[in-house]
């Protein structure tokens, strides 16, 4: 369903800030699967999402979504196949537009926008029913500017909007990291329900070891722009938070060893 082939990306190439964010990533996600991605800071887990959504051009490699090579597609074109929820809870909605206007734009993803009015009564009823599921009384606020809502409310709506057209691939980029614990819990509950219903192939980046242990059917740990660990099936189900914490200290030890080794080598040649 989603395939990454030898994907490479280096930011700020040739400068002091050069970051090798993706260093030859090969990954294939099965249709309808839910993969959770964890990793240390700068490990390339967010860059992985950018590579799929098309926010930047790859240095090398290919991205295939639903059998189509989308490597050269611009970001907006990929959006017809890929739904996204960002870490920033305000990034997925336009604050000056009403809740209904935001949902209308999400329900009809295309580049050519028509001169027809946005919402019909039938569509409004449909959105109201969806909003009722969030359980925060948002169904009565269809005509309020969405900027009046809280971060948690907006992130929940963004999630609805991202899955409204049942995209082939759903990208969740630490989408609860900036929320308070209660909102995060609400959004995670909604995520579980919507991922199941939309049957979108889901790639979710998270900082939360608890989420990584309990959600999804496959877990990938990224480290230094590569896939460090890839667990699925029964191994994934038995994986606990403790195992993940151990994994992180192991990755950090590797880092420390690398630095130490560099220091030693440097000493030798001085």
């Amino acid at each position: 369903m989603l395939r990454l082939e030898r994907v490479r990306k280096t930011f700020n190439k040739g400068t002091a800030n050069e970051v090798r964010a993706l260093d030859g990533v090969d990954l294939e996600l099965a249709e309808g699967s839910w993969t959770v991605v964890i990793g240390t800071n700068g490990s390339g887990k967010s860059t992985l999402q950018g590579a799929v959504s098309g926010t930047f051009a790859l240095d090398a490699g290919r991205i295939v979504v639903a059998g189509r090579d989308v490597t050269s597609w611009p970001e907006h074109r990929r959006a017809t196949l890929v739904g996204r929820v960002f870490q920033d809870p305000f990034a997925g909605t336009a604050p000056e537009l009403t809740v209904a206007e935001n949902m209308a734009l999400a329900s009809n993803r295309r580049n050519l926008r028509s001169l027809l009015p946005l919402s019909t009564r039938a569509r409004r009823d449909e959105w109201r029913a969806l909003l009722r599921r969030i359980g925060l009384g948002l169904e009565d606020r269809l005509d309020d500017p969405i900027g009046l809502l809280s971060g948690g409310q907006r992130q929940a709506i963004t999630l609805l909007m991202a899955t409204l057209t049942r995209p082939r691939v759903l990208l969740l980029d630490e989408h609860t990291a900036a929320l308070d614990p209660r909102s995060a819990e609400l959004v995670i509950g909604l995520t579980e329900a919507l991922v199941r219903e939309s049957r979108s192939t889901t790639l979710m980046v998270t900082h939360s070891m608890q989420q990584a242990a309990t959600l999804g059917d496959r877990l990938i740990a990224m480290h230094r722009g590569r896939v460090y660990l890839d667990v699925s099936g029964a191994d994934k189900r038995t994986l606990g938070e403790g195992d993940l914490l151990a994994l992180f200290s192991q990755m950090r030890r590797d880092d420390a060893f690398d630095d130490e080794a560099c220091g030693l080598v440097r000493g030798q040649y001085r």
């Binding site: 907006h76 990034a91 909605t93 336009a94 206007e101 926008r113 946005l118 900027g147």
Partner: protein, 323 residues
Amino acid sequence: MSLLVATLAVGLVFAVLALGIYLSFRVYQIPDITADGSFPLGAAVTARMLKEGADPWTATLAGVLSGALAGMATGFIHTRFKVNAILSGILVMTALYSVNLRVMGSSNLPITRGTLFTPLEETATEWLGRETTLLGRPVPASDLGLLAGTLAAAMLVAVALSAFLRTELGTTMRATGDNARMVRALGTSTDRMIVLGLALSNALVAFAGSLFAQMQLFADAQMGIGVIVFGLASVIIGSTLVGPVRSVSLGIAGAIMGAVLFRLLVAIAIRLGLDANDLKLVTAVVVLGAIVGPGWLRGLGRGRAKHAGGDAAHGKRGGHASA
């Protein structure tokens, strides 16, 4: 009285201009200086077409389309070559100065044939005679015809723009200015939206230029200077009038009221002895004041409140020490 009627008519033409600026500045947050070139472009194209014998409707339409092309040029330079939006506007505005001279063949071009307003002026004269009285003062009937024409144009543009901004396309344009990343994530090219929006904005500005030329019966290469600042003044004064609301129709109504009010204020100021040469300076100061003023006043209020709070705390501490 005749002065008031003429001022209102000019104000309504500038209301059309203000709606164009509303689109680029309020919807896209781009103060698009292309307007300084597309306003005289609309005028020049219309004047030239009238000179060549075109009927007023065709001549006006050609003026509007030329403005749309100018806006597309700015949008294209900005989105395709990633040139800063304001610099893109400056480039196109500068280029248009030469284009306008070419179109007119000289630095100004008089209009000697019938305009869009001619039938209205004739009808008004037919109904009311050469001169009529309004509030006890004599007014040429043709001025009332002119006023009716500009009122119709401004209302038409206002209604059409507010309906347009509610369609799927118009809403996507508003979303582009509000959160471009979201629009791309929802499948629409923001580049295309920006090119289309600037085309529409400059089409309206050129329409205003075309009407203005048909009203004063000539087009002039210099007539665009400061048009953007005048439009910004109208939009900003308008948003002060209607308050900090997000509704599209109120924003549009505000821009129209702002343009007419500002034009009236200018007429009064000149009547009271303001040197017309100082007008642009005063306009710029008014715009700066309208942008900076509210925040500065709030800051002043906060500063005073803080100061008062500090005094209170100080007093308390003082009391404690003495006790």
